[in-house]
Symmetry: C2
C-alpha cells in the first residue's frame, strides 16, 4: 500500500516527520511511502503549488498524509499559483468530496477551551463537509458592470447528485454514532440551499433510524457556541462547512489536536491536521504533531482498513496526554520531537 | 418625525409595545407613529409578507422600528411569500445597506455566556455588515444540468461601488471607536472576496489613522471564539456577516439584549433586535424586550439625531439590570411588561 507524504509549508515537514515515526513504529507490513512537493514549497522549487509529479504520486497512492500549506511569501501571487491551490486541486482532481472533521474534547484538555468547561466537555460531534462543489468550484472571475464598475463574481451551485452523495455520508456517519444528523443550509435565502434541503429530505427516507433536523447556518453558528453538545453529526456544503468546522474546532480549544479526512468514492483519502502551516513558529520545534499523528490514525482506519492499528495510535495519544505530554499550544514546554517520543513511548 | 412600527410575528408585538412605552415616556416632541403589517402576520392578513401599504409607510418614515418576522405556518410557502422576504425586501427597496451590530457584554450579565467569563467580558465589538448585495441578491434559481439533474444556483457578486460604500462605514465606525478595522473575506477562494479586499485596501488610503487588517472568514469564526476581545470593528459582506454577527452575539451570551441598525445613504434606518420571532414563547409574556428598547435607542441616535435621548435609554436599561431586572432568558422571572416597567422606573 502506497502512502503519499506531502509535508508542504511552515511546520508541515516537522509534524509529518513525527507522524512518520509513529507509523514506522507500528511496523505495518507492505507500507511504502513517496514524498511530494506541495504548496509554497512546491512553487518555490518548481513554479507550481501542485506540480504534475505530485499529482501523479497522489493518483497512485492509497492515501495521502498531508502537512499544511500556506506561505506569506506567496500572498501576492496570482490565485492559481497560491499554496492553497494544492489542497483545492487535490480535492478536485481525486474527487475527494467528503471531508470528515471530528471535534471532541480530550478530558485532560477540557480547560483549554475559551468555552466554559461544562460546555466544552460536552462536545462530541462530527462535521461532514462537501468539498467538491459549491461556490468554491463554480465559474468565477472579474468583470465590468454596465456602468463600467469592477465586479467580482462566483457562482454557487449544487446539483442533486452532489448533495445525494454527501447526504449519504452524513446519514451513514450518524448511524454509526448517536443517530442524529443536522443538515445546515440557508434555505430561507439561497436556491442552492433549497435544493440541498429537498435532496437531504429525499435521502432521509432510506435512513428511518436517523433523526434528521435542519438548521440555518446563522443559527448553527450560534448553537455551536451556546450548546455544542447538542450536535452529533452535522452535514453541510463546502462554504458553510469551512466556517463551521473551524469554529467547532476552536470550541474544543486545542486546535493542535484535531485531525481530518477527505474521502472519495473509492475510500482513497487525504489526511491532514485541521490547523494551518503556522509560519510564525516554523522550524523552531514548537509545533504540536498530535493532530497529524491522529490524522495518520484516521488514514489507517478509513483508507487502509486497519482499524486496530488506528485504535493503537489513538490510545497512544490519549496515554501520552495522560502522562503529561504538553507542547506549548497545550500550555507545556515539550518540543515537536519530544511529543513524538511521548507517543512512541506510549505505543 | 415619522416612525414606522412593524411588530411582525411571534413575540414581535409584545416587545414593540414595550419599546413604544419607553419612547412615549421620553415625551419627545414631534414624533408620530404609523403601524404596518409585515411577515407572516401580513401574509395571513393580506396575502403578502411586505404589502404595498407597509412599503409606503416605510418610504415615508424617518425610521422603522421592527419587531421580528418568522412563522412556522409559512415554512412551505414559495420563497417570495415567506416572512423573511419582509426584511430582505425592506433592505433592498430602501437601500438599507449598512447593518450595524454592536456586541458588548453588560457587566451584570457576564456569566450568561457559554464563554469563560474573562473571555466574554472582553467583548466590545461592532460588526458592520453589507446588506444590499452578495449572494443574497444575485440571480438565483433552479435549473437542469446537461445530464438532466436538478441544480440550485445563486450568483455571488460585489462591485467596487458597493464595497467602497460599506468600507467607508467600517472605517468611520472604527475611527469613532478604538481605531481598528478587520475586514473579513475568503479571498483565497472567491473572486468576489478578492475584489472586496482590493477595494477595502484602496479606501484605507483615506483613513491612515485606522489600523486595517484582513482575515479569512474561517479564521474569523475561530478567533471570535478564541479571543473575541481582539476585535474592534469587523466589516464584511452580507453572507459572512449573517453568520459572524449571530456567532458574536451568542458569544455575548444574552441574545435578548442585542440591538441592530440598518442604514441607507440618507440615514434612514431600520432598527430591530437581533433575536428572532421566537414562536415557541409568543403571547406568553416571556420575551425580553430590552433588545428592542435598545434598538429604539439606536434609532434616536442614528436616524433622529437625538443622542441625548439615546443615552437616556441606554442608561435606563443598564440601571434596570443593575437593579436586578431579569426576564427568563436572563435567568429571572420578570415578564415582558415588568421588564418594560423596570426601564420606565429607571428612566
Ligand atoms: C486553504 C483553504 C482553501 C481551505 C478551504 O477553504 O477549504 C481550508 O480553509 C480548509 O478548510 O481546508
Ligand atoms: C431572516 C434572514 C433572511 C436574515 C438574513 O439572513 O439576513 C436574518 O438572518 C438576519 O440576519 O437579519
Amino acid at each position: 500500500m502506497l502512502i503519499a507524504l506531502f509535508p508542504g509549508d511552515g511546520i508541515g515537514p516537522e509534524i509529518i516527520a513525527q507522524a512518520r515515526r509513529v507509523l514506522d513504529a507500528l511496523a505495518i507490513e507492505g507500507l511504502t511511502y513517496e514524498e511530494g512537493l506541495v504548496g509554497g514549497a512546491a512553487y518555490k522549487a518548481v513554479g507550481h503549488p501542485l506540480p504534475p509529479e505530485t499529482l501523479d504520486i497522489a493518483r497512485r497512492a492509497d492515501a495521502i498524509l498531508f502537512g499544511a500549506v500556506g506561505d506569506p511569501d506567496c500572498d501576492s501571487l496570482e490565485r492559481h499559483l497560491r499554496p492553497e491551490q494544492a489542497i483545492l486541486g487535490l480535492r478536485k482532481a481525486l474527487g475527494l468530496f467528503s471531508n470528515l472533521r471530528p471535534a471532541k474534547v480530550f478530558p485532560e484538555l477540557a480547560d483549554a477551551s475559551a468555552l466554559k468547561k461544562e460546555v466544552a466537555s460536552a462536545i462530541d460531534l462530527l462535521i461532514v463537509r462537501e468539498t467538491n462543489g459549491d461556490v468554491y468550484f463554480g465559474e468565477k472571475g472579474m468583470r465590468k458592470t454596465p456602468d463600467g464598475l469592477r465586479e467580482g463574481y462566483d457562482i454557487m451551485s449544487y446539483n442533486e447528485e452532489q448533495v445525494r452523495k454527501i447526504a449519504h455520508q452524513g446519514f451513514q456517519a450518524a448511524r454509526a454514532r448517536r443517530g442524529k444528523l443536522c443538515s445546515v443550509d440557508k434555505a430561507n435565502v439561497l436556491e442552492t440551499s433549497q435544493l440541498w434541503r429537498d435532496v437531504v429530505i429525499e435521502v432521509s427516507a432510506e435512513y428511518p433510524d436517523v433523526a434528521l433536523s435542519h438548521m440555518y447556518v446563522d443559527n448553527a453558528a450560534m448553537q455551536l457556541v451556546r450548546d455544542p453538545g447538542q450536535f452529533d453529526v452535522i452535514v453541510t456544503g463546502n462554504m458553510f462547512g469551512d466556517i463551521l468546522s473551524d469554529q467547532a474546532s476552536m470550541c474544543v480549544g486545542s486546535i493542535g489536536m484535531l485531525a481530518s479526512a477527505t474521502l472519495n468514492d473509492s475510500n482513497q483519502g487525504l489526511y491532514e491536521p485541521i490547523h494551518g502551516s503556522a509560519p510564525d513558529i516554523a522550524g523552531q520545534g514548537k509545533a504540536n504533531p498530535l493532530a497529524t499523528v491522529l490524522s495518520a490514525g484516521m488514514m489507517l482506519r478509513y483508507s487502509l482498513g486497519l482499524p486496530e492499528q488506528a485504535d493503537r495510535i489513538e490510545a497512544a495519544v490519549a496515554k501520552a496526554l495522560a502522562n503529561g505530554a504538553r507542547s506549548p499550544d497545550l500550555g507545556g514546554t515539550m518540543n515537536t520531537v519530544e511529543m513524538g517520543d511521548a507517543v512512541l513511548a506510549a505505543l
